[in-house]
């Protein structure tokens, strides 16, 4: 097989794979992955790109995290919101190489609650962001990390 044909076939295969992937994702997922927010290296950029900038501090966000995490590769985080009309909870770790970790949208009866295990690069606040009634709210808890879980 000559090089041009090989390149063409390779390109076609990629195009087909991408197209079918897009179609499948389009069918299964209403949401699109927010690349700008998740690849942002600074907290401010990540918050802005994900629509959580300028959040008001709130006492109605409950956060359960360990005070000390001996293994930054596995930090349990539990968050719930009692703010009326909560539609989303997002988790950020201020000093991770990519501070945005996850966002959960609650639909059709899902409670504004999430528990998930995250990675933390170093000691930092775990920042919980909430969207409710078109506004954004925040609360955070410090977690001391004794062995980071991102590089290696």
């Amino acid at each position: 097989m000559n090089q041009a044909r090989r390149t063409f076939l390779k390109g076609t295969a990629v195009a087909v794979a991408m197209l079918s992937g897009v179609l499948r994702v389009g069918r299964a997922f209403a949401l699109e992955w927010n690349s700008a927010a998740f690849t942002a290296k600074k907290l401010d950029e990540a918050l802005k790109s994900s629509g959580y900038a300028n959040a008001a501090a709130s006492d109605d966000i409950d956060i359960k995290v360990p005070e000390i995490a001996e293994n930054g590769a596995l930090v349990p985080v539990e968050a719930s919101s009692s703010i009326p009309g909560t539609t989303s909870i997002a988790i950020f770790s201020d000093k991770n190489p990519n501070p945005m970790i996850a966002e959960f949208n609650f639909l059709n009866g899902a409670e504004p609650f999430i528990s998930v295990r995250i990675k933390m690069a170093e000691t930092a606040p775990v920042r919980i962001m909430v969207k409710a009634g078109g506004k954004v709210y925040t609360a955070s808890r410090d977690v001391k990390v004794t062995a980071g879980g991102c590089g290696g």
């Binding site: 994702v25 997922f29 998740f38 690849t39 590769a73 899902a110 409670e111 933390m120 991102c150």
Partner: protein, 104 residues
């Protein structure tokens, strides 16, 4: 990839626990032998349905721990209802799990 799920209902609130097998590579780790970065490979979209109706939509970055575990709650669910979870990673691999809600 294996996905293990458990769902129990207490009153009318179901608690769903999901455990997935996935490396969740950050792209920041170096291969000790070659010295090259191991490419990022992580689940980035997750949805859950209750009897086919969407209840949870999630976006994840590389900061979700390896072999992701998460737990969520649904009001208005009852024993026998079906919870399905669908996930996709950044290399377009798709993962599915389903469980019937058990009485607590």
């Amino acid at each position: 990839m294996a996905m293990r799920m458990r769902a129990t209902v207490d009153g009318d609130v179901a608690t769903v626990k999901v455990l997935m097998q996935h490396d969740m590579e950050t792209g920041l780790r170096k291969d000790k032998e070659t010295g090259k970065f191991i490419p990022a490979h992580f689940i980035n979209l997750v949805t859950a349905t209750l009897n086919g109706t969407p209840v949870l939509e999630a976006q994840w970055g590389v900061g979700v721990a390896k072999n992701p575990f998460f737990e969520f709650k649904i009001k208005g669910a009852k024993a026998g209802d079906k919870i399905a979870v669908h996930a996709v990673d950044n290399l377009d691999a798709h993962f599915d799990g389903e469980v019937e809600i058990a009485a607590a």
